[in-house]
Symmetry: C2
Subunit: 494 residues, 2 copies
């Protein structure tokens, strides 16, 4: 074997091990760590981050990657791997260390200020830190230096190749159509006559049900586990060890939907080819792509009628839902009810929430509004886009932590995921028209594995989509899917 490649792979493996060890430690922090363990945990996490950062910026690593990126004797897959890695290193080198440190410091301060502001329901507590983070993000965009709009450079970190032009085109297609759909729903008799069935399920039964759901979806039992934490998440610890969490909430089906959602992420992580273990190809192609997997399992499967036709009787028994009909349950689960909060939203309003955030981020980046005006602007936009005004800053402009972390350009990936998921559905149905109707998860899982998961980071999301769906991001299918699904909801057309 090429000696330099061997050296590079050894360094990559160290890097991957530091990261995978960090994942164990971070998972533990969110699930089982005794609360006072936090100061010791900060030390451990900072140490692991420092170690992996040292590798990432080391001259040896860069020189090896650079040399090997010009080595045409490598196998095709090694060339792909080296290219990915070299780009990663170049990306990380674009940001000066002092800038990264400064950003990280203000992200901590931003998070803290955001929490305080949310607790006290006062956006102005957060505003000064947000202002710095907006300025730093503009600076970051300059360092990254992608062509076109500066926001393209922010998108790059989350969704390689995505651009403002493409997003504007996509969102301007979606926005009026979803608003029209929402208006139709709100005007429908079904909606007007809806009576809340007031269902409760004990936490123990919710747990039984979501553990069962993982089995129904054919999640591999010995490579996967589910725990509870304050916020649902997925983490990959090793090729055969991926973990998700959910949380018990007032709405009794949310813990289940979150498990379906995170299981979609987990399936992606578990499906990456083991040939890529401990190297730069062992990862997801983009945030939008992994979100397409989670939303596929959450919305298309676990909110879908075929799933409930097949499993409702078992679910009902598990959860003690005597007397609740399939119709009542399905309407309860899919109720369209525009509110101010993204995480409480339904399939129709979800992307409208994202568009709201995207439009405000663009205004901020462009300097069209001042940070001080964001709360006011949020209220205006919420009314315009969703038809509701948030009752408080906490449930409006302060509902999401992302800006506290200085993460601009992240939100659009949620909508991209929703769109991709429906394009994938279409492609799957072209190959097997009955896959969804018959709950053939074996077929669906295998299809997604072959077309998406196993490729890791070999391709961009755009390329993956072109390869399996014939085209990149296209919102037509998404709007069609929602329109079709809503017919079921409005007419109870089983």
């Amino acid at each position: 074997m090429n000696e330099k490649l061997k050296q590079l792979n050894n360094i990559q493996k160290e890097l991957a091990l530091y990261n995978s060890i960090s994942s164990v430690v971070a998972w533990d922090q969110e699930t089982y760590m005794p609360s006072e363990g936090i100061s010791g945990r900060f030390e451990q996490m900072a140490f692991l981050r420092k170690k992996s950062h040292e590798i990432m910026i080391s001259d040896d690593f860069f020189q090896l990657a650079e040399e090997l990126s010009k080595d045409s004797s490598l196998s095709e897959i090694d060339r792909t791997m080296v290219k990915r890695l070299y780009e990663d290193i170049l990306d990380s080198k674009k940001l000066p260390s002092e800038f990264v440190e400064k950003f990280s410091k203000y992200a901590s301060l931003g998070c803290e200020a955001w929490k305080k502001a949310k607790d006290e329901n006062d956006f102005q507590i957060f505003a000064p830190k947000l202002k710095v983070l907006v300025d730093l993000s503009r600076e970051k965009a300059k360092y990254v230096g992608k062509p076109g709009h500066p926001y393209n450079s922010l998108l790059h970190g989350f969704e390689e190749g995505m651009t403002v032009d493409k997003l504007n085109e996509t969102f301007s297609y979606i926005k009026p159509r979803l608003k029209k759909l929402l208006d139709d729903i709100l005007a429908s008799d079904t909606h007007k006559n809806y009576v809340d069935p007031n269902i409760t399920i004990t936490p123990e039964n919710q747990k039984k049900a979501y553990e069962k759901l993982a089995q129904w979806m054919l999640m591999p039992q010995n490579r996967f586990r589910i725990d509870t934490s304050a916020h649902a998440f997925t983490t990959k610890i090793a090729a055969d060890d991926v973990r998700i969490t959910t949380r018990i909430e007032p709405l009794p089906f949310n813990s289940l939907l979150k498990v379906a959602h995170e299981a979609g992420h987990a399936r992606y992580d578990l499906g990456i080819s083991k040939d890529f273990q401990y190297n730069a190809l062992e990862g997801i192609s983009s945030l939008g792509m992994t979100e397409s997997q989670s939303l596929f399992y959450e919305n298309i499967i676990a909110r879908g009628l075929p799933f409930w036709k097949k499993y409702f009787e078992q679910y009902k028994a598990l959860c003690n839902l005597n007397g609740v009909s399939l119709e009542t349950w399905f309407a309860y689960l899919n109720k369209i009810n525009p509110g101010p909060v993204r995480l409480e939203s339904d399939e129709v309003t979800y992307s409208l929430h994202i568009i709201l955030r995207y439009e405000i981020e663009m205004e901020l980046m462009n300097g069209d509004i001042e940070v001080e005006d964001v709360a006011r602007r949020w209220e205006e936009k919420s009314l315009e886009v969703l038809g509701v005004k948030p009752e408080s800053d906490s449930r409006g402009v302060l509902q999401d932590i992302h800006w506290g972390w200085g993460m601009f350009g992240y939100f659009p990936t949620y909508a991209i995921g929703a769109i991709y998921s429906t394009q994938l559905l279409d492609a799957i149905q072209k190959e097997n028209a009955q896959a969804i109707e018959t709950c053939d998860y074996s077929f669906i899982n295998t299809w997604l594995h072959e077309n998406i998961h196993k490729h890791g980071r070999c391709f961009t999301s755009e390329t993956l989509m072109k390869n399996c769906c014939g085209e990149g991001l296209n919102p037509t299918m998404y709007v069609n899917y929602l329109e079709k699904n809503i017919v079921i909801y409005i007419k109870f057309d089983y």
Copy 2:
């Protein structure tokens, strides 16, 4: 601050962080890791071990420690710390790297062979590997080179300063007295008329009870947690994060006693002065000393009559033990019933199990018996010391994994712990005669904290004992304690 000391402390902190991160990862492996995560976990653990080993054997570290060990300008506590560290490094340098590697390889093979042998109930499967490990241990003793009997060098790694002479003196005092005590018990009417009450407690109720026990013993809720695993253990993850595990067994009180036991270890780990965080003083003084803590809470407290007088009614309610009297429960918990298995033994026979192992280890080290004869010798000794012949190799010579790891010189620390625990009891009662009777755990915990826990590795166990009990290891109190306790057991003298 002394620049070299600062450098040394930075390296020590890296070492401590690698070790504490290993603890998180190892804890996870024993508690929640999906089974197929094991191969990824081996990579992570090997990597962390390699990294901490690299620090331990680095020239920089050694040179700094050596220079500072001669620096008389250091504060007293820094001098103590540097001395400890320098000794640790010197100890680790005594064993050549190739030898450590070889030992570690055969320890893996030994464990594997032990497991297979135990599963198939055939000592001879284990014998060839055991032979190598005995030879390697003799070699190890030479490298360590403590004065006197080679076994002193093996003891050194577990119980600093302990010697064969001291152990022989101690065990020859204990052995005839415990055997006499056992004979008296077996001849007593109480023992002969004992009827097994056949109590069962559901795993859920056992869990409720042991969680409650931790509260009764004033374990700090936010710095400590209890999980279940295949074998009970304690692990320190950070100064404010110590975790224990227990396991649910056929005998319904074992999960509780294990929690009491591990909570004793945990209290020690949690009590070490935070001044020693991330340096060589942050640890236990010896294995015998930490075992004295676990046995104190397991035997003296949780098997004791005062505890049950106070808590039996609550325990009974938690565990649904309607109709069971305190007398029945107490006799059930303290039944003396010599059997072949150490982990199923009672307070009276426990140290006899240790003496059996010690005597065989000495015969092996001295070359008085061959490894091939160990199974036969075990049966003879078991009959002589405990009065019972094991019904199989699995429940006899193969019951403990320690020899599979190549750990000779470890077993005596269990008996040392049992002896120390009663010396500590005596010292506590001299200061507060009612502490045990009144279940004054606040007093007891504080006393042990002040006299043992907080000192970390500042002193040897011998010194700690002399400081708080006026003398080092002395088995008189231990035998007295057992004789006195057995009066309670035999006569039901409440």
